[in-house]
């Protein structure tokens, strides 16, 4: 396999930037072009629903690299421009400003777009949060809002609810699962998340779905829950999941069934790779291909893809990791909480707000979960893959 003369990246965020950095670090001297729809230089998303929304950080702290470091990279940034069409036979990408960009290797790093509700009406005051601009819009509207409804209690919805409570708003959080973060943590630990939000004064409606958004004069006024229950709202934030940003790849012949389908080396087609939230690959711990929507997944995939562009054939076999900050609590997970896993607290006490839990499936530890216990959970990574009967509970 020969090394491509140039690399084109679609998506100017953490995944795309890290591919470029890793290529340069390995001595790649070819041309690197990064096309990004947003006008901004690469910035980090995790602070958006945390420090940016609460206003504890100045916005310029979220940029991933300073101007000087970006200049050293020697990348051609094509920002404020959308990739619109891929022709893998001609090896070109067409952009919305009419350019046709040829590539030696292409990296797809276009991330996700927030999911809309079925039949969602267009009402002012209804927000989603994915980008910096989304966050600044929401923050501005929160200033004069009193009642906030957050639809979806995954990681993002929980963080937005916590931020809105921190800003003193009356917050209602709605989710079809029986606890918040049930899909990420399982219901056993999800109960602790529920207790935390209730202790902070959030009204939780779990096990239920929003049936309608109600508006007055084109502006949101309330949401409806089953049984004609109405919750009034000045602002509604929809955090009911996101879908891969692959519309631009329609007609390319790539497998686009929930993200860009890749092989175990993150290759989607000859000289076409995908990284980050948009990439679906055969995860080694299950027989289905899946995507991870986490920050370290984007960087770790980018390192593998950079090596593979340079002729390696590395497989992507991560230990997944994610964290979430809500109020003064940091939740961190190393490993995979499988759908049938049981979780067990092995150190500390949930009532004291600091513990370590293990997820176990088939007699094997599959994940370590830390609750305000960053060093403990990192150290517990060594337990992953071990038999659970060898691990004793401390209390």
């Amino acid at each position: 396999m020969s090394i491509p003369d140039d690399v084109l990246v679609a998506g100017a965020s953490v995944g795309g930037l890290t591919v470029a950095e890793a290529l340069r670090r390995k001595g790649y001297t070819g041309r690197i072009r990064i096309v990004g729809e947003e006008p901004h230089l690469p910035y980090d998303r995790p602070p958006l629903s945390k420090e940016v929304l609460t206003g504890t950080w100045p916005v310029d702290r979220i940029y991933l690299r300073g101007q000087d470091r970006l200049a050293e990279l020697g990348v051609d940034w094509v920002l404020g421009v959308r990739a619109e069409r891929l022709d893998p036979h001609a090896r070109t990408v067409k952009t919305d400003d009419g350019r046709v960009l040829p590539y030696g290797a292409l990296v797809i790093a276009t991330g996700l777009v927030p999911r809309r509700l079925p039949g969602q009406p267009n009402l002012a005051g209804v927000h989603t949060l994915r980008s910096l601009d989304d966050t600044l819009n929401l923050k501005r509207e929160l200033q004069d809002a009193h009642r906030v409804v957050v639809v979806g209690a995954g990681v993002l919805g929980c963080e937005i609810a916590a931020a809105a409570r921190t800003l003193g708003k009356a917050v209602t959080l709605v989710d079809p699962e029986s606890t918040p973060m049930a899909r990420q943590l399982g219901v056993e630990l999800g109960r602790h998340v529920a207790a935390m939000h209730e202790a902070h004064g959030v009204r939780l409606h779990t096990g239920t779905t929003v049936t309608r958004l109600l508006g007055t004069d084109g502006r949101i006024s309330a949401i409806a829950l089953p049984g004609n229950q109405i919750v009034e709202a000045d602002v509604v934030v929809l955090a009911a999941g996101s879908i891969p940003a692959t519309r631009w790849l329609d007609g390319s012949g790539l497998d686009l069934d929930d993200g860009v389908g890749c092989d175990a080396s993150l290759r989607a087609a000859p000289d076409v790779y995908a990284v980050g939230d948009v990439a679906r690959w055969p995860a080694p711990w299950t027989d289905t291909a899946l995507r991870l929507e986490t920050r370290t997944n984007a960087t770790e995939q980018a390192l593998v893809v950079a090596d593979n562009i340079l002729g390696a054939d590395r497989l992507y076999r991560p230990i997944p990791y994610f964290w979430s900050d809500q109020y003064d609590t940091k939740i961190q997970v190393h490993g995979v909480i499988t759908p049938h896993a049981r979780t067990r607290v092995v150190e500390g006490d949930p009532r004291e707000g600091r513990f370590l839990a293990l997820a176990e499936d088939g007699g094997v530890v599959t994940a370590a979960i830390g609750w305000n216990n960053p060093r403990g959970v990192r150290t517990a990574r060594r337990l992953l893959g071990h038999e659970t009967n060898l691990i004793t509970t401390t209390d």
């Binding site: 890290t18 950095e21 890793a22 670090r25 980090d44 995790p46 702290r61 991933l64 690299r65 470091r69 920050r295 370290t296 960087t299 770790e300 980018a302 390192l303 990791y321 964290w323 900050d325 940091k330 961190q332 960053p374 060093r375 990192r378 990574r381």
Partner: protein
């Protein structure tokens, strides 16, 4: 090589410690990064550069001159 960390941006994941435990450690109470060796020896430079890229908060960087 000179290593710089930003404790305000750090999110306490410890990816840096996993990459280069001779150079980085975490505070016990909140997991925030502690720099053990701001001028690591050449054999650790690769591991430190790996940590720079893996850090999920872009809270580490290096200066080569110095």
């Amino acid at each position: 090589m000179k290593v710089i960390v930003d404790q305000v941006k750090c999110v306490g994941g410890g990816q840096c410690v996993i990459a280069a435990e001779e150079v980085f450690e975490q505070r016990d109470e909140d997991g925030i990064v502690v720099l053990l060796d701001p001028t690591p020896p050449p054999e650790l430079h690769d591991a430190v550069r790996e940590a720079v890229m893996l850090c999920p908060a872009a809270a580490i960087w290096v200066e080569d001159r110095a």
